[in-house]
């Protein structure tokens, strides 16, 4: 595919994704922050649903050798980078996606966050140019690189090659775990809702529900 066609497809995908996120008020930050701070899971459930679909889709096609999986070595920098990112997104009240979506809605705070995300990236380019860490993609080997604190590369396709089991089988295991999490959230929400209804009934009658049932 030519670079122009790639840019066009990317713009089309981004436009649809932006529109759907704007209309659904989905936010990745809220999916994590609200679950941690407020024990509400509206966005968390949506994120899990998408991850379940993607796990089946990606590992299914990877079993056939199709698709373009991301390929680069990971290590301490992966954990540390996303740790900083996690703090940053809670402070900014938005992640990289929602900064674009909220900016599109006229949120100047989100635009400000976006500008400083660019500044943060430029600052990192200065640090990298002095430290040369983490290793540049061209020097990655896919193997453990202890001096550079790198664990190498592994995904469902490398598991398929190593164990001779189709990638989709591993995908199904991950799907089951995600589905278990999703069901646990639903169960928690139902219990919370039942408790809420009970409190409302108690409040309305001015006496405990158990007593009201006995009197009836």
């Amino acid at each position: 595919m030519s670079p122009v066609a790639e840019c066009f497809v990317a713009f089309l995908f981004g436009s649809v994704a932006g529109l759907l996120m704007q209309r659904s008020r989905f936010c990745n930050t809220a999916a994590l922050r609200d679950a941690i701070m407020f024990k509400t899971y509206r966005n968390t459930k949506a994120m899990l649903a998408a991850m379940m679909i993607l796990t089946l889709g990606f590992t299914g096609f990877m079993s056939l050798g199709a698709g373009h999986p991301l390929q680069f070595d990971v290590g301490l920098n992966t954990f540390a980078g996303l740790f900083l990112f996690g703090i940053g997104m809670v402070f900014a009240g938005a992640c990289t996606v929602s900064t674009w979506v909220k900016t599109g809605e006229g949120n100047l705070g989100a635009l400000w966050a976006l500008i400083f995300t660019f500044v943060g990236m430029f600052l990192f380019s200065l640090v990298w140019s002095a430290s040369w860490w983490p290793p540049a993609p061209q020097t990655m080997t896919g193997q453990i690189n202890a001096p550079a604190l790198q664990l190498g590369f592994a995904n469902a396709q490398t598991l398929q090659q190593k164990f001779g089991v189709p990638a989709i089988v591993f995908g199904l295991v991950q799907f089951a775990v995600l589905f278990g999490l999703y069901r646990a959230i639903l169960k928690r929400e139902r219990a919370h809702h039942a408790e809420h209804v009970k409190h409302q009934q108690e409040h309305a009658k001015g006496k405990p529900v158990e007593t009201a049932v006995q009197n009836a």
């Binding site: 994704a17 990289t96 599109g104 966050a113």
Partner: protein, 164 residues
């Protein structure tokens, strides 16, 4: 149009995006945000300081600057799609943070996000909608990092709210 009057269920929205993401995965690569922003940073820096930028090895080796990098257009598309959605649903209006403390937190948050994305080579979208569904080892490392970070960030945020 009903679509622009009611809030869409995020499960439906994200499921639709996931299906489209699978098509993207097949032809170019999974949905990712961060690479496009880095390239935009490079393009802005190049416009500001010209060839001086190339004295920094990062912009020669890790991210040589060029405008036809497809990931830029995912982000621009999201901005466009959200703008269209907001205008058609009459939800577009200028929102400005009122307190200085909000501006400070947003500034700090933006800096941490930008620095963190480049340190890890990925962002939260690649973590949850790219690496993890590919069962990439980095996805699990990144998820652990982002959960720990979001937890620490939430604790600090709570303290700040209580102090106000």
């Amino acid at each position: 149009m009903e679509f622009f009057k009611k809030t869409l269920d995020p499960i439906i929205a994200l499921s639709a995006i996931a299906v489209l993401d699978i098509f993207m995965f097949l032809i170019m690569g999974a949905w990712t945000v961060g690479g496009g922003e880095t390239m935009m940073t490079g393009l802005i820096a190049k416009a500001a300081i010209g060839d001086e930028l190339e004295r920094l090895p990062f912009w020669n080796i890790v991210f040589p600057v060029h405008g036809d990098y497809w990931k830029i257009y995912i982000s621009l598309g999201m901005l466009f799609g959200a703008f269209v959605g907001a205008v058609l649903s009459k939800e577009f209006y200028w929102r400005v943070p009122r307190h200085l403390s909000e501006w400070v937190l947003i500034t700090l948050g933006g800096l941490l996000m930008g620095f963190g994305i480049r340190l890890a080579y990925i962002c939260n979208v690649s973590t949850f909608f790219g690496l993890m569904p590919e069962m990439n080892m980095g996805g699990y490392l990144a998820m652990s990092g982002i959960l720990a970070g979001a937890w620490v960030g939430s604790l600090i945020y709570k303290k700040l709210l209580e102090a106000e």
